[in-house]
């Protein structure tokens, strides 16, 4: 009886581990960590939920939880971590955000356009991370590590 129970439990644990996509990172701590590791703490401010919705226009229920940091200067730097319920919808909103930001910056801050064009966007099926910053190589590494890749 005990053996059966243990083997059932082991099977459950294994199944849970195999469920689609990677692990979902906690958006708040992940965002904080990326900002810190990219040495952006001084120039980034955390946004609240209403600001995130007013910038990304996610569909209702598309995002479970999120965190967003934006530059407190005129640059387009951004670190966003979005735990998705509907990944396709989240990707679409992130793309629209980048397109709009690019259109605005090409008039006012054309030097930001390269960064926006080369934004780091990656996901593991559950969590999507967006980074726009100067050090794109470090950003790629940080994002991969945060997504458990």
């Amino acid at each position: 009886m005990f053996r059966k129970f243990v083997s059932s439990l082991a099977a459950l644990v294994l199944l849970a581990g195999c469920s689609g996509g990677g692990s979902s990172a906690n958006p708040t701590s992940t965002g904080e960590k990326i900002v810190k590791n990219l040495n952006l703490t001084e120039k980034m401010d955390a946004m609240d939920e209403s600001q995130i919705n007013g910038l990304f226009f996610f569909e209702d229920g598309a995002v479970k939880s999120s965190s967003l940091y934006l530059a407190n200067d005129q640059t387009a730097d951004v670190v966003g971590v979005f735990e998705a319920e509907n990944m396709d919808s989240v990707k679409e909103c992130v793309r629209t955000y980048l397109e709009t930001t690019k259109l605005q910056n090409q008039n006012y801050n054309p030097e930001e356009v390269f960064k926006i064009d080369n934004a780091v966007i990656d996901d593991n099926g559950k969590t999507l991370i967006l980074v726009v910053c100067d050090d794109l190589e470090s950003a790629k590494k940080e994002v991969k590590s945060a997504l458990g890749k």
């Binding site: 007013g54 407190n72 200067d73 259109l103 008039n107 801050n109």
Partner: protein, 253 residues
């Protein structure tokens, strides 16, 4: 016996209730008559501010003009040096507490300036950087929050929400979507004005050509005012100041 006691109590109570007779003193000075007073505001907040006499230069001592890069034209080419003009290029209202104001080295945001100001006449021009948004719900909520904050300790202050004039073009938003988005944006703004009893001004009334877009000679890129445009905009605002005393009456009864 019980009946008698009840009758006595009734008589005592009745005596206690009768008002003592007032002895009028013919030499006494009469008590001043007090009136209940209230303010009646007859201004129609459903309408944009109408044309009136141009304000004097002193009036600009009390004025703060705040907004996005379009307000920058007043900062650059305006003729009233006593007016305070603060703007943020590329400002999205979601970032009003996050982006630094142009031309300042103290790192203050527009939200800092608005929270600190004691100006009596405040003009707000926002929304053009949000014009591609699918809706203006979040924008409206933020603008409402700002208006509420400005009114909180200054109920008699005059706030003017400036509607977005129709630019010649906006990249990535061709017609007729541009017009549709502008209508939605300006409806959001004017609804806030009506609800909060603050004024709104509609520069399209005075700065547009026959095509319904801003006069070509007033803008250098289809959106931002050049020198003649900034002067015309400044003049338009100066001729559309609401004289509160004309509409608000104190009624005492």
């Amino acid at each position: 016996m019980k009946k008698l006691m009840i009758l006595c109590m009734g008589a005592v109570l009745l005596c206690g209730c009768s008002a003592p007779e007032k002895q009028e003193d013919p030499d006494a000075t009469p008590e001043p008559v007090t009136y209940a007073c209230r303010y009646i505001d007859k201004y129609d907040y459903n309408q944009p501010a109408g044309f009136s006499d141009m304000v004097s230069d002193d009036w600009y001592d009390t004025a703060l003009f705040a907004g996005d890069s379009r307000m920058g034209s007043i900062a650059l080419y305006g003729t009233h040096e006593n007016a305070q003009v603060e703007y943020v290029t590329s400002l999205n209202l979601m970032r009003i507490g996050n982006m630094p104001v142009d031309g300042r080295d103290d790192g203050k945001t527009l939200m800092d300036i608005l929270e600190e100001t004691d100006k009596e006449n405040i003009y707000l021009l926002f929304g053009i950087n949000e014009i591609r948004n699918p809706n203006f719900d979040a924008f409206g909520e933020k603008l409402q929050e700002i208006v509420d904050m400005l009114m909180k300790d200054h109920p008699t202050r005059s706030i003017y929400l400036i509607l977005s004039y129709h630019p010649d073009k906006i990249d990535g938003l061709p017609e007729p979507r541009l017009t549709e988005h502008l209508n939605n944006l300006n409806t959001t703004i004017s609804e806030i004005a009506k609800k909060s009893h603050v004024y709104f001004v509609n520069p399209d009334d005075g700065l547009d050509d026959e095509a319904g877009t801003v006069i070509d000679e007033y803008v250098w890129d289809g959106l931002h005012f050049n020198v003649p445009g900034a002067r015309a905009f400044e003049e338009y605002l100066g001729y559309h100041v609401v004289r509160r005393e004309k509409y608000v009456q104190e009624i005492c009864e």
